[in-house]
């Protein structure tokens, strides 16, 4: 596990996952709390935390850690850095 992985930290806090969970275990199918309501909130949180906007077709492909990671990396986000704050200056 990479403790510097901002996405992993976000998903662990968001879904209350065990600290030693492996990234490949974080999927919509395996995480019980990952329902459609949580999905809305997760998208809001990802957009706010990494200051990105997802295209409509990207939203449909955010079903697991790997997919989210891939989408963020494609948008030029480095996940080993501390996430950018949502807060207004």
């Amino acid at each position: 596990m990479d403790n510097n992985d901002a996405l992993l930290r976000l998903l662990r806090d968001f879904f209350n996952l065990p600290p030693d969970i492996r990234p490949e275990e974080i999927t919509q199918k395996k995480v019980g709390a990952w329902d459609s309501l949580a999905m809305v909130q997760l998208i809001a949180d990802l957009q706010g935390t990494f200051l990105v906007d997802f295209d409509l077709d990207e939203i449909g492909a955010l079903r697991c850690y790997e997919e989210i990671r891939g989408t963020l990396v494609k948008k030029g986000i480095s996940l080993t850095k501390t996430p950018v704050s949502n807060a207004q200056p």
């Binding site: 930290r9 976000l10 998903l11 662990r12 806090d13 968001f14 209350n16 459609s36 309501l37 809305v40 909130q41 997760l42 998208i43 809001a44 949180d45 957009q47 706010g48 935390t49 906007d53 997802f54 409509l56 939203i59 996430p83 704050s85 949502n86 807060a87 207004q88």
Partner: protein, 616 residues
Amino acid sequence: MNSVRHWIANHPEPQKEAILEAIASSSLAKIRYALRLMEELEPTRQGPAFRVELLGTYSLEPLRPVLQLALNCLPARAELRIGPLDAIETHISQAVDVAGQELPDARVVLWRAEELLPEVLYPFSNGFPDGITSRRDQLLGRIEGVVRLHQQSAREVPLFLSTIPQPVNFSNPILAAQHRAGLFSVLGAINQKIYDLATDNSGIYVVDVAAWARGEGRSYESVGLDFMARQPFSAAGQVSVALYLARSLRPLIVPRKKALAIDLDNTLWGGVLGEDGRENLQIGPEFPGNVHLRIQRELLELKEKGIALILLSKNNEEEVEEAFSSLPQMILKLDDFAARMINWKTKPENLREAAQELRLGLDSFVFVDDSDYEREQMRQLNPEVLILNEDSDPLRTLNALWETDAFDSLFITKEDRQRHHEYQIRQAREVEAHQDDLGAFLKSLEMTATVEAVAAPNLDRVASLLAKTNQFNLTTRRHSRAEVAKFAEATESVVLALRLRDKFGDQGIIGVAIAVPAQEKRTLVVDTFLVSCRALGRGVEDALWAAVVNCAHRKGIRKLEAEYVATAKNELVADFYDKLGLHRVGGNGSIRRYELTPVEPCSFPLWISAMSYDHG
């Protein structure tokens, strides 16, 4: 953020840290983490139970964690009930039929133009202008109908109506502003209706989402999430709106601060009187004197709303008096201060004396001072006092006065507006009382007490007294407005408010008693007995007790049960029932139980020269 910091000041460090971090970062993941930590707290440390019902035309369920955390921070053990989407009237009319479901402590309606009046987004496809005007009028009728429906089914529950923010997305804002049937004018008319309903109806309040949204700009919106889930807020918007909603509801469970103690030099004017001389003080329309002038304006407004102003200044009193009377630009006069502590004692000591003089608890005070030393000393010696400003900059002090929620309230009563006068009279009375025979002095006040049944016209004041009274309060039960209304409706209960008039004028409602049926037949339990601190020392408590006993007697009650529940602040009344001659029947360390039997008619204090009843 500063508000939340003082809301959760007594929380354990891990919870405090997690909450502040979650809010500062607007991270929904961290919000969820903080919420889990809050749930680990003992229920007794979570605050009072607070049931909030939310009804919306847009999806509120996704906001549940952030709303829950914001309400828990008040602090409160919040129970959040979110009604079905866009079914406001149906839910309100059905909710009364839900067996076993207690009424909420507050009901909130959140609505917006996108669902209420979608035609206004496309006016030219919808018969502009007449078609839009007609739809607007229908909607105004609908909003009135929601209030009526609520009043029919749950009148005693405070209803908060949100105003309508500008839609997240619409085209051509320039044209929309040009006509009375345009978007902005129509929204203005709807919001005006909402303000009118709150003005004209007791128990109806506004949660001004439109004002909040204007303050946030577009950063609160998420167009994508709105299309996807009919949830219009970004992560930062969710955190912000949840805190705004919590702040709007907070006055229901947390009374406002009662007093502001403020420093003089470099705060109410620029410069130091003793060093610079009064002719060199900065106060007036030019910068930086205008900042100090504005601070004075804020204080004057607080005074008019019933907040006691206390002047704490290390200066020579005579010099201060000369400065106040000779500087023409001063907005505040020395008479505007309920207490003036101008001497060389420490400020914490002076503040404690002022608190005693005004019969206020230290936790009712807010303190402002430009000196780091003075603020730190106050923080350490009087930790109950809320320190409002963080540094010596007068502009930031002014900003702190604008932003603070310490003086938030949902309404200002007539009694609040007279409070400064009350404080002045109290001081005069204290002086007189020390000089003359107390009995003769009390008689000279020409007091008239009127006992009123608790009902809609006085319910706000009664609820406010229940929330705020600490010292002369036998049980300190913080019943909500809704609970009081329920007690008052029960015919077998005795629920009384005592209004006092004296030669100085109408003092308003200053006492409340609630007695409810016990299990034993023809027996009442005195659930609440309190007298406002501003009426203490005048024997009105004896009048209120006489009213309870006589009312119980008329109802055929044979026994009154009563109790004293000790708190950190009500030592004053520990022996109250003993003095009245009630029989002590038990209790433990913090509770004393009493009985009065038989219940015989009781006379009023001699110095209350007349007593009339509005109560049947």
